[in-house]
Subunit: 336 residues, 2 copies
């Protein structure tokens, strides 16, 4: 069968990636699934900020020049010789960005892949890379298991209108009844999170020059400080949040978008001593623990909340694999 | 009854405190315990690094000039009208540094105080401010409930021969079978932790000029990095530990001794992004949660390990309240 794939032309240590850094290749894929393999069709490929880190330099699981891009995808099983999968199964997975793929039993055993057959249809297969995929698991894991909210606590979320942040805020409001403050870039996004997602307040970070100004803004909307900070961006957001974090406060470190395009990340000024008497906690995490089912109850809970209408997925997508280098990546990297 | 107390003469924002900053006062204490009160005799008063912070400036629970010092003590109930206490009971508590005290029912209800009657005698009442007191609860809470060691993991401990660090290392070795690396000042302490406490390796931080040199030392003794860091001192120890912390690594922030004598704490250079893919955690904590019994199983476990001979308490003490300003505080503040 014919397959198309997204190939990285050159690594990009810093700066904003564009279509000139990728090409679309064609190849032939065998459909002999062997003893234990499956043949799959990829229907959606993600374009999220984590991909920026993957193309900085080869090594450490990153993509080298000339290699096929890899990341989160969703798709359908075309043919199966594996007892866990049947033809027609829908799934989310972490795989190369190629439209048709033959996964041998060995490869399959090492692949992060979760079944969505009973939860979605081909019509909303995009949920496999959204609310029922990496962004959903990131929001769920970070909020439910890392931050562990209590009712009436205050949460601050950066990149608050993004794929992850938007879900964190809605869950904080709808499931945990928290006071929710989001940081977004621009008035339009600030209005979206307040009007559509039900946030209590929004801070337009584009109107804020540094950590000191952000602290002042946060004190206006949360005079008693914040109990939780969902960290998506880094830099001044982290410093300001530490400053207004209350006793027993928690920070879930999920991403550092503000640093993704720099070759060397900017270091934060940090005073660990402040954490002692306040019993504060900072914890980094990635979605893999929840996507693999190793931890928590992500798919069941999230699907339930989605079905009950408690969460509104926000999605932006474009048709055709050739659109990925042109539109999707730039959308993702400017989405905050 | 006659009581003596330690009074702070002047606050000391920075620098090393000495006998000139304290005086011993005498006063009369009534022994009418009323409806619900108790009369107590303080037998031991702690002299640990946390006291340095208390005399920097008034406010925030600190001591103001002219006030009686307060901190962790151990003692005996002389007279009781309270159903929870009987004459002869031994205890640990957080109280003013005065030899005889009348605690009304109201004061008692607000005092952190734990019963040790069945665990110690007057002969080892010093355990009430050591292994069965704040240092013990700090070591226990930080290791057992914050760091949560797994067998064969590697732990790095700063101030590793101190009241807290020495217990953390012994517990890591004796209870959890971890690889233990301690940082101490000078050859003598390095030998003590290896020979008496059973540590696998010791780093003499006085031979190390900066974080880069400490990283090199740590890589020699732990080529694969560390899984846990018990943070007692701050500064270069924190930065170096973050650098060699493995995936799923944890840091328990317990103290920052290196910063206690400075007016403004030195900030660490910190990259939160490093914590994401590694699922790392940094958590501050104070012993109150375990001393109050709110969390964990401190007294029962610690007393058991002590009785089984698994832990060797290290104590330095001097007789007489007048010795406290002269010897004890300086011992405590240079104990690392």
């Amino acid at each position: 069968m014919k397959a198309s794939s997204v190939v990285l032309i050159d690594n990009l240590p810093s700066g904003v990636p564009g279509p000139e850094h990728f090409r679309i290749d064609s190849s032939d894929v065998s459909d002999s699934v062997g003893d234990n393999g499956i043949l799959i069709k990829i229907l959606v490929m993600s374009a999220d900020p984590y991909l920026r880190g993957r193309i900085k330099a080869p090594g450490d699981g990153n993509i080298a020049a000339g290699e096929v891009m890899a990341g989160f995808v969703g798709g359908k099983v075309l043919k199966s010789a594996n007892s866990k999968w049947v033809e027609g199964d829908l799934f989310g997975a972490h795989l190369p960005f190629a439209t048709v793929q033959l996964l041998t039993g060995d490869v399959l055993a090492k692949t992060l892949m979760w079944k969505l057959t009973d939860m979605i249809t081909e019509d909303n297969i995009s949920y496999s890379i959204g609310i029922l995929g990496m962004p959903g698991a990131t929001a769920y894991g970070g909020l439910v298991d890392v931050l562990r909210p209590k009712p009436s606590e205050t949460i601050f979320i950066s990149a608050a209108s993004g794929a992850v942040g938007g879900l964190v805020g809605q869950m904080s409001k709808q499931i945990y009844d928290c006071k929710v403050i989001g940081s977004c870039g621009g008035e339009e996004k600030c209005n979206l999170v307040k009007d559509s997602f039900g946030y209590d307040a929004a801070v337009d970070y584009k109107q804020v020059a540094n950590a000191t100004e952000l602290i002042a803004k946060l004190k206006e909307v949360a005079p008693d400080g914040i109990d939780m900070y969902f960290e998506n961006v880094g830099g001044m957001h982290f410093e300001a949040s530490m400053e207004v974090l209350r006793p027993r406060g928690r920070i879930a470190v999920c991403g550092q978008i503000s640093e993704y395009n720099s070759a060397t990340p900017q270091l934060c000024a940090f005073n660990p001593m402040k954490m002692i008497y306040t019993n504060q906690r900072i914890e980094g995490f990635v979605s893999t623990r929840w996507l693999s089912g190793q931890e928590g109850n992500f798919l069941v809970d999230m699907h339930k909340w989605l079905t009950e209408g408690k969460l509104k997925p926000q999605e932006t997508f474009f048709d055709g694999i050739d659109q990925w280098p042109i539109k999707c990546l730039s959308v993702a990297l400017h989405r905050t």
